[in-house]
Amino acid sequence: MSGFLARLRQLQAAVVKRLPRRWNRALAGALIVIGIVLPFFFPPNNGFMNATIIAVAFAVMSLGLNIVVGFAGLLDLGYVAFYALGAYSLGWFGSGFFFRLHVHVLVSPTAPVLGVHLNFVLILIAAALICAAAGILIGLPTLRLRGDYIAIVTLAFGEIIATVAVNGQSVPVGGGMTLTAGNLGISAVDPPYFPGSGSFSLLNLRPWYWLIFGILLLVLFVNLRLRDSRLGRAWVALREDEVAAVSMGIPLVKTKLLAYSVGAAFGGMAGAFFGTYYTEVNASQFAFGFSIFILAMVIIGGIGSIWGALVGGLVLGYINNYLIPDVLNDLPSKFGLHFQLIQVEFGIFGFLLVIMMVLRPQGLIPERRRQLELTAQIAAEDAQLAEAPTGEVTVILPPGEGAA
């Protein structure tokens, strides 16, 4: 009898020990299911649905930038460049813009005859590849730089791409076609098309949501895999101490460029999605403020933390596209003030950032390492203050010294 009880207790211990892992899996599964059925709880084309789609796309960008800034510690202020290149990939390969060419690959039979029309998945891949290459291009001149100087070079790169986008309408690429349509915008871009899928129209936003949710899951998966891998460790090592990292056999150039290009590829995928979702690729979309906006998502979420970047992207996305324009916009008028909240949007974001830095500088969901680092530092300082006289003895002769 007692043997049976003991065995039962063993079983219980084993179950408890295994629980966290299972729980994580179950939690992830539940969240994915909730994510998939979410659109059924809202009208298919209301403002909240629209805000959700944009917020999820922001989260994809935030996860991409987090690889560069968070994992590898390279402060990139030109992330808008990859938004632009991703969106132009869509404009080039999914519209009638290059009207001299007639290329159709796996697209809806109703697609226009003129122009290049590739399937959206192919465009996503093209956007990722183009941005990965551009990421390497931007990475090369920053390899010998550190900190603030990387920020300056990447900022300039973002501005260059934005300027090229504006002036591209006077850059001929042959046959009377130009590189971009500048501030006129490339319009009438193809909606995504998958055989057997529902139609992607602005009357029903649900397919759009599922599409960007799928991209988010993909990006999340890649992020998680990379974090706990040889490459992810190498990024953190380079961030912590470059000299020690290269002395331990980590190739500096290759590892840094991989961080730039993987982060850029995700930005490009979100950019391509925005291109088709906004039904237009317009040079005026690619302003410097966008880079800062994405960076703010990473910082508010918790630099280097995957779940932080996700939550940061969603939170700022919802505040920007739902809370301020749809919910609280009339708030000032209720107090007899003659302005709309949307007019002081940037002021609100600035205020939020300041509040965040004062109250929770490590971000909403801090990275495990940084959290440990912060708490460990405090604990170490406390310990030093508390037992300074005896503390020294243990430092010189740690227990188990003789065993070495």
Partner: protein, 275 residues
């Protein structure tokens, strides 16, 4: 420790080791920073399976020579040869891949990584998983990851780190434990040549003595050749088969410890001229 009182013959394979072919060789290397010659026409041979010490007053150019041997600096003149390979212009990570690992004078661990992760970084050059391997994680990548982790734990146990702190962040470890992790990290690169930059700095005499014994054990058990920068003469005299003395970037003496310590130029470099 009797090693300080008089010349004690080095343990292990004695001077015969010096006849072994050189595994790492610096040939007349010079390093200039602007107008300053930090290292001036220095040649050093590391015979296989030996322990060689590099000594000299502060600023003599010892660490600069180390940095050239590991590829962090490029020599202004001269050649560095590893086995039959000219590595003068090789990148540091490539040289690590060839089998040269090092520790640093002021410990340089990755503070925000655990002890085990630090040692796993040391094994980086011996791993193969790239971008897509890391993302898709096929069975061979899982195995590689698991083996690397197990090896890291073994190495940490080997250098005497208490098991309880294996998964603690490097920044949280005591000074002595940080030194151990750094040594384990260098060993994880599976080197044939190990460069130790003042490994006993900050240690008390007992710890230094233990490390001296440990270095011999390392050389024999891991088939290593060790080059050592050291200020503690007890350690230098006790462990090395050959000593090279640098002063103001120039090599002023070289030979067996007992001979070098009586060399008038060495005494002059350390104590000043006797008049």
């Amino acid at each position: 420790m009797s090693a300080a009182e008089g010349p004690v013959p080095p343990a292990g394979p004695a001077p015969s080791a010096l006849l072994a072919p050189a595994v790492l060789r610096a040939e007349r290397v010079t390093k200039e920073f602007g107008g300053l010659r930090a290292v001036d026409d220095v040649s050093v041979d590391l015979p296989e399976h030996s322990i060689v010490s590099l000594i000299g007053p502060n600023g003599a150019g010892k660490t600069t020579l180390f940095n050239m041997l590991t590829g962090l600096y490029r020599p202004t003149q001269g050649r560095i040869v590893l086995g039959d390979r000219d590595i003068t212009r090789s990148r540091p990570d490539v040289i690590t891949g060839y089998g040269v690992a090092r520790t640093f004078q002021n410990i340089r661990l990755f503070g925000a990584m655990t002890a085990v992760e630090n040692v796993m970084i040391g094994h980086h050059a011996r791993m193969r998983a790239g971008l897509f391997g890391s993302i898709f994680r096929p069975p061979w990548v899982r195995r590689e990851e698991r083996d690397t982790r197990a090896r890291a734990r073994d190495l940490l146990a080997y250098v005497g780190l208490p098991r309880a702190v294996f998964d603690r962040l490097a920044a949280q470890l005591s000074y002595g434990d940080q030194r151990r992790v750094e040594l384990a990290r260098a060993l994880a690169a599976e080197p044939s040549v190990l460069l130790l930059d003042e490994p006993t700095a900050g240690m008390n005499p007992r710890e230094s003595a233990e490390l001296t014994d440990f270095m011999r054990r390392l050389r024999d058990e891991k088939q290593l050749t060790i080059l050592l920068i050291e200020h503690d003469m007890k350690v230098v005299m006790g462990v090395s088969e050959r000593v090279t003395v640098l002063d103001h970037g120039k090599k002023i003496a070289e030979g067996e410890p007992a001979v070098v310590r009586t060399d008038p130029r060495v005494i002059e470099a350390y104590l000043g001229k006797q008049d």
